[in-house]
Amino acid sequence: MRVQLFATCLVDTFFPETGEACVRLLKHFGVETAYPRGQTCCGKPPNSAGYAREVKLAATRFIEVFDGSDAIVVPSGSCASMIRNHYPELFRDDTRMAAKAQAVAARTFELTQFLVNKLEAHKAGLKGRGKITYHSSCQLRRELGVKEEPLSLLQSLQGVEFVPLPSEDRCCGFGGMFMAKLPEVSMAMADEKAASIVETGAEVVTGCDHGCLMNISDALRRRGAAVQAKHIAQVLAEEL
C-alpha cells in the first residue's frame, strides 16, 4: 500500500520530527509514503479568518499537488477536516474543480483515523513509555468525528499508563489566528487546559494537532510544569 503524506505547514516549519515519525509508523505497517514536494498549506488559516480568495489559492494548489488515487494521510485534525469537509464547498460554482475537490476530500484521512480504520494499528501491540494524557482537538472531534481512534491507540500501547483528561474536549484556545488576535484570552484558555493536565499527574500530554500542542506547551511552560506536549505520531513511533 502507498499513501501520500501531507505534512502540514506546522510540521514542516516547526516539528519535522512528527513528519519523520509518520513515515516510520506507516512503514511499520508496510505502507510506503510518497511526499509530494510541491505541498505548502491546506488553507485553514485564511479560511478561519475569512479570506476566501487566499483559501481558494491554497486549495487549488493542494488539489494539483495531490493528484492521484492513493490515500492522503495528514497528521492534523484541523487540516484533514479543512480538506475533507471544506474543500468541496469551496468550488461550488465550478463543477470541474468541485469534482476534483470531492475526489481529494474522499481520499484524505487524519493520521489516527487512517491508522485505526485502515490499518487496525490499535490491535498491533505497539509499545510506548510513561504516563500519558490526551487532549481532543476541536475540528478533529467535531468536524471529522474522530473521538475514539486516538484513545484506542493510546490505550493499546504496552508500557504506557493512560490517564483520561477531564474536559478533554474543551478548546485549548489556539484557534489559529485567534491566539494572535486575542492573546490574553488564548493564554487564559490555555492556562486552564494546562492546569487540568498537570492535575492528571501525566508526564506527557498528547494530541493530533500541533496547533493545540504548541499552545498547550507554552501554557505548561509558563506554569513551570515539567509536562511534555508531544504529537501522537511521535508517541506511537517512540519504540519503533
Binding site: V11, N47, G50, Y51, E54, R142, V185, E192
Partner: protein, 456 residues
C-alpha cells in the same frame, strides 16, 4: 448606565476581563454548573430527533413569517389584545411610552425580556419620569448595580454572593449577608410590594402562538406570573421571529427549552396567556398590548444568516463556549453575548459597529453541537468573517500577512523563502514591544521536513 462597554472595544474588554479573578471564578462555576445540569437533563432523551423537529418547525415559521404574524395578530386581537407592530427600537419605545403615559402609569414592574434590553426601553421610560422595577432576581441585582445583564438567562451570573450582599447593603440599607436564601428573601419582600402597587407590567414572551393568539412565558420565580396578572395593564414586547404556528408545535419547545437552558424538565411556571380577562373570569389583565418588534429581523431574514433567527434563547451555546467562560458577558458590549450573540450583534448593530466581536471564537464548534434548533453557528461566524474581510474591517498587518500567504502558498520556493526569512527575523520580531504571539511559539527550524525528505 455606568460601565457599559462597546463592541468596538471588544479586544480591550476581553483582555481586561481575563484579568478579573472574581469574574473568572464566577464564570467557571456558572458555566460548569449549567453544562452539567444540561447534560444530566438531556440524558436518555432522543435529543437528535427533538432538535431536528424543532429546527424544522422554526424554519417553517421563518419561511412564512409575515403570514404567521398576521395570523397571530388576528387571533390575539380577537381575544382582546391590541397588537402593535414596531419597525425599529425607536418605534417600539414610543409605543410603550405612550401606552403608559396615556394611562398615567408611574410605576411599572418588569419581567425579564432581552428585547427590552436591546431597544433600551428602561432608560427611555426612566428619563421621562417613570419608575421601572425589574422583578427577575438577576435583573433586579444588575438594575440596582447600574449594570447590564451578562447572560441571557442568569443576568447577574458574573457576581458572587459577597458582591450581591454588599450591593444590597449599600443600595437597600439592609444588614450585610452573603447567604443566597437571605438575599432572595430580601428581594422577595421588596418586590412583592412593588407587584401589588404597580400601574402596569411589562414582560417579554418566550414564544407567541399564531393559531390561538397566545403568549408563552417560562419562569422559575413566579415574577412572570405576578407581572402579567396583578397590574391592570400588561404590555408584552417581543421580536417577530418568536412565533410558533400551533399549540401542538409548541409542545416540542416546552420539552426542549427548559432542558436545553438549565436541564430542568420544565421551569416552575409556564404561563400561556390568551388575551384579556373574559366575562366570568377572575384572572387576566384588563388591558393587554402586544408590541411586535422587527428592529432588523426582516432584513436578516432576507439574508444569508437567516438561520440565526431560529434561536430560542436557551443560552446553551454560551454556557459551553470556552471563550465566554473566560471573558463573561459584558466584554461583548452587546445585549446578546456568547456565540449566538456574536452573530446577532453583528447583524443587528452592523459590521462597522460590531466587527471585533467576530474574533470572540476559535470556531471550536461546541456551540453548534448543543444548539437545540440546530443554528449553524460556526458556519454563520465564518460567513460573517468573510464579509468582514470584504468590507475592509481588517488590520493591515493581517492583510499584509494574507497577501504574502497568497503568493507563498502557490509556490513551494516562495514558501521555503518565507520560512527561512521568518527564521532569521524571529529574534527581532520576538522583541517587538507588545508582541504576545511569537514568544509563545517555538522557533522555525533550519532543517524543515521538506529539506529532510529531500535528503538535505
Amino acid at each position: 448606565m455606568i460601565g457599559i462597554k462597546s463592541s468596538l472595544a471588544f479586544r480591550e474588554n476581553a483582555a481586561e476581563a481575563v484579568r478579573d479573578s472574581s469574574l473568572r471564578s464566577a464564570m467557571r462555576t456558572a458555566t460548569d454548573t449549567f453544562t452539567q445540569l444540561r447534560s444530566a437533563g438531556m440524558a436518555s432523551f432522543p435529543m437528535d430527533e427533538w432538535r431536528d423537529r424543532a429546527s424544522e418547525i422554526r424554519l417553517n415559521v421563518l419561511n412564512s413569517l409575515p403570514d404567521y404574524l398576521d395570523e397571530f395578530s388576528r387571533n390575539a386581537t380577537r381575544v382582546g389584545a391590541v397588537v402593535h407592530r414596531a419597525r425599529d427600537a425607536e418605534a417600539a419605545r414610543d409605543i410603550v411610552y405612550h401606552l403608559l403615559k396615556d394611562r398615567g402609569a408611574r410605576k411599572i414592574v418588569k419581567a425579564k425580556s432581552m428585547v427590552t434590553e436591546e431597544i433600551h426601553l428602561n432608560q427611555h421610560l426612566e428619563v421621562r419620569g417613570m419608575e421601572v422595577v425589574e422583578t427577575d432576581l438577576g435583573e433586579y441585582i444588575v438594575q440596582i448595580a447600574g449594570e447590564a445583564p451578562s447572560h441571557i438567562l442568569a443576568p447577574a451570573i458574573h457576581k458572587n454572593r459577597r458582591q450581591v450582599g454588599r450591593l444590597f447593603q449599600e443600595k437597600l440599607g439592609v444588614e450585610y449577608s452573603d447567604d443566597p436564601k437571605v438575599l432572595t428573601g430580601i428581594a422577595r419582600r421588596v418586590l412583592r410590594n412593588e407587584f401589588l402597587t404597580a400601574d402596569a407590567g411589562i414582560s417579554g414572551a418566550n414564544f407567541a402562538i399564531a393559531g390561538t393568539g397566545s403568549l408563552a412565558l417560562f419562569t422559575n420565580e413566579g415574577n412572570g406570573r405576578m407581572v402579567t396578572t396583578v397590574p391592570p395593564l400588561h404590555i408584552a414586547v417581543l421580536t417577530i421571529e418568536k412565533i410558533i404556528p400551533t399549540l401542538a408545535d409548541f409542545a416540542s419547545f416546552v420539552r426542549l427549552l427548559p432542558r436545553s437552558a438549565t436541564g430542568q424538565p420544565l421551569s416552575s411556571y409556564l404561563s400561556i396567556i390568551t388575551g384579556t380577562r373574559k366575562p366570568g373570569e377572575a384572572t387576566g389583565a384588563r388591558e393587554l398590548h402586544i408590541v411586535l418588534v422587527d428592529n432588523g429581523r426582516t432584513e436578516i431574514l432576507r439574508g444569508e444568516c437567516r438561520e440565526i433567527l431560529k434561536c430560542i434563547r436557551c443560552s446553551a451555546c454560551m454556557n459551553v463556549c470556552p471563550v465566554y467562560r473566560v471573558i463573561g458577558g459584558h466584554a461583548y458590549g452587546s445585549t446578546y453575548p456568547g456565540p449566538m450573540g456574536i452573530v446577532l450583534t453583528v447583524l443587528l448593530d452592523g459590521m462597522e459597529n460590531a466587527h471585533p466581536v467576530l474574533d470572540a471564537s476559535t470556531l471550536c464548534g461546541a456551540c453548534a453541537e448543543v444548539c437545540p434548533v440546530r443554528v449553524p453557528l460556526v458556519k454563520l461566524m465564518n460567513l460573517l468573517r468573510e464579509r468582514r474581510v470584504e468590507a475592509g474591517f481588517t488590520q493591515s498587518a493581517e492583510r499584509t500577512f494574507m497577501a504574502g500567504y497568497g503568493m507563498a502558498v502557490r509556490s513551494p520556493k516562495l514558501f521555503g523563502l518565507g520560512q527561512t526569512l521568518s527564521r532569521f527575523l524571529w529574534p527581532l520580531l520576538e522583541r517587538v514591544p507588545g508582541n504576545m504571539t511569537l514568544p509563545r511559539l517555538p522557533k522555525p527550524v533550519k532543517s524543515t521536513f521538506k529539506r529532510r525528505m529531500s535528503g538535505q
